[in-house]
Symmetry: C2
Subunit: 441 residues, 2 copies
Amino acid sequence: MRIYDIIIKKREGDELTDSEIEYFVNGFTNDQIPDYQISALLMCIYFNGLNMRETVSLTKAMMNSGEIMDLSAIKGIITDKHSTGGVGDTTTIILAPLLASCGVPVAKMSGRGLGHTGGTIDKMESIEGFKTNLSKDEFVENVNKYKIALAGQTGKIAPADKKIYALRDVTATVDQVSLIASSIMSKKLAAGSDAILLDVKFGSGAFMKTQEEAFELAKIMVDIGNDMGRHTKALITNMDEPLGSSVGNALEVREAIRVLRGESGGALLSLSIHLAAEMMIMAKEAEDTKSAMKRLTESIDTRKAYDKFVEFVFAQGGNTDMIKNPELLPVGKYKYEVRSSIEGHVNKIDASMIGQAALIVGAGRENKESKIDPGVGLILHKRVGDHVDKDEILAEIYFNDKSRLDDAVKKVFDAIKISNAKISAGKLILGQVSKDGIERF
Amino acid sequence: MRIYDIIIKKREGDELTDSEIEYFVNGFTNDQIPDYQISALLMCIYFNGLNMRETVSLTKAMMNSGEIMDLSAIKGIITDKHSTGGVGDTTTIILAPLLASCGVPVAKMSGRGLGHTGGTIDKMESIEGFKTNLSKDEFVENVNKYKIALAGQTGKIAPADKKIYALRDVTATVDQVSLIASSIMSKKLAAGSDAILLDVKFGSGAFMKTQEEAFELAKIMVDIGNDMGRHTKALITNMDEPLGSSVGNALEVREAIRVLRGESGGALLSLSIHLAAEMMIMAKEAEDTKSAMKRLTESIDTRKAYDKFVEFVFAQGGNTDMIKNPELLPVGKYKYEVRSSIEGHVNKIDASMIGQAALIVGAGRENKESKIDPGVGLILHKRVGDHVDKDEILAEIYFNDKSRLDDAVKKVFDAIKISNAKISAGKLILGQVSKDGIERF
């Protein structure tokens, strides 16, 4: 077998065999095939695509390139949730203790943020002492004891995906649905959960810009998961405006605490409950959405979810004072209030630009070497559809480096469109994809 | 400027600016842009093509990446001829002394062969002592004194093309008309001649498999040349069967000697005379094809062309005894006669397979490190259209390594198709392309 012939085959739009796909994935991972040949092949895949069988085959090959987690020592059905990346999306931090408080085991492996989207590990590390590099034994023990554990994804999971993604990132081949789907699913499948719930986002702050693209990606991922014997489902959700009001690591933890205490609602609470309900059903801990949502809501109302969060932070070495008194969490030294120059209604809050504004003040990583600043970011005071008076605060920016402020303010102004027309925010959950097909709500 | 944005632009089918093209050519040549990004870009060019302006821009950038020969010290109009590569194509060795004998200066820079097509430098080096690494001064002096000099192309000519071609060769991006055209023309334009005649071949032994592809390639190359102020013309010629009877380095020199002595005719003589006549007109040494062909034919008939060849070999240090007594030229120790198992007419002699048979016995290079064996190759006894008796000789194979024979014999049998139907050989010269457009004969 020669990589040259595989490139030609895909260049001509022909279907690659399983062994050809394994050959190039393993050859590249083991440094036996040079990157310049793989980048040529990836560009052929960009132009000619992969069919479902090829996509499953690529997912398997990347999954099998590294460690496959064995979580069989954990009691119960382990469900995992994966979001395709958004802005102000703190659902994991909310739904994990929420599910655990209802007795549903949560064994969560998470990544760090890159670009304008945040990562759960970064957010939780803004809590002093919170440890995410748990050993396998600690991880399993914590889930069995507390029903909840969170660990950073190890480098041993799907190294082929890591290497291929790094190459795609610099050769303009990220933006291809089969490559995206296989990249996500190879890691999720290797992470060892019994069931996978995907939160596939679309809109200005998401990777997929349109609903249709999101449904297409969700369908492929759900098919891969179920094809490989893992119960997999997806919700298609709106990421046109940021999900919560806060964007930035410690600021998002604060908002999650308020949601868990029942002090804050809106889209963030709503989506967290919906996702948690789906996971509860997949874990066979509830019969239907209605009863699941009832139990989850009760858990917030009775503070059981919040108490579980405190216990979870304690179990992983975090300073629980910071949860009980969130003002102890890191926060930028300076605050700037972005105020509206006109009166009107908020027509649009571009989530990507808000994410970029947070990135500019240091809440995210511009590249893999960047260090994040846990206390910085921004808090939105308005949502799409809200009325705004002239000079009313649209957002607060928390920052430490004054030289970054002007660019961030400009991004916030660019992101928020105000006009006379009163517009309603888009629907939050657009539909779902399961092995039975696509269902639009 | 970022290579990433240039890849995306071409991936989306947009037109690259001159400065973007210069940026990636120079960046790659200077090792500032990694090969994996250039191979991704080349694949985008494979899929979305380059328009004429981009192709000219790429040619210029590659031409300017290295030395540009200044041949102004040579008297007269310097014409260069380039063939897109064929099998049994010894026209350069015939037309160079032929033109020189008619007073037309020939300052020829040539490459080595790769794959199944031979190179003039390799062929001439089968003559003992023949030197092709002339200094610039020797080269100019020889042309002024003898009207003829032949030198190997230096590594300093178009290094960008060399590097890009090497990458295309392993990433399945060779086969794209704008990339082929710019690769050839960047070297030809840098080689410093005043006028360029292109012999664009099509058929089984050529890079372009169909007439239409050959006309398309020729049109692009002619437009590039004229666009850059160099008088450029192309003939479209048939390479379905090998041009001459001999394939292999010293064997082809022997055939060239016979043609120059007026002892051998056929397609090889005919094409050599046609190409030489065009060059004579481009050099303004003849008014029209008819008078040019008359002078060239006379030069062969009067042995002036042959005498010039002997003088040329002498001038570059070659052993002229080998020209006067061609049996002194190297020849394989063993000979094998391939005989027909049936009676009939030759319907096809696949030039590519014949070239591969010669390659198998050692006449060519399988890769850039291979050494060629000057004496081996094969002599065809038949041409398309000829009658063949059962057991009559189709071809002789000359070889040194017995272990290679079986594969070569198999290739020859595969190449030659014999049937009851009498078929005529295809037309030799199909048309021409000049700045006035395409003319089909």
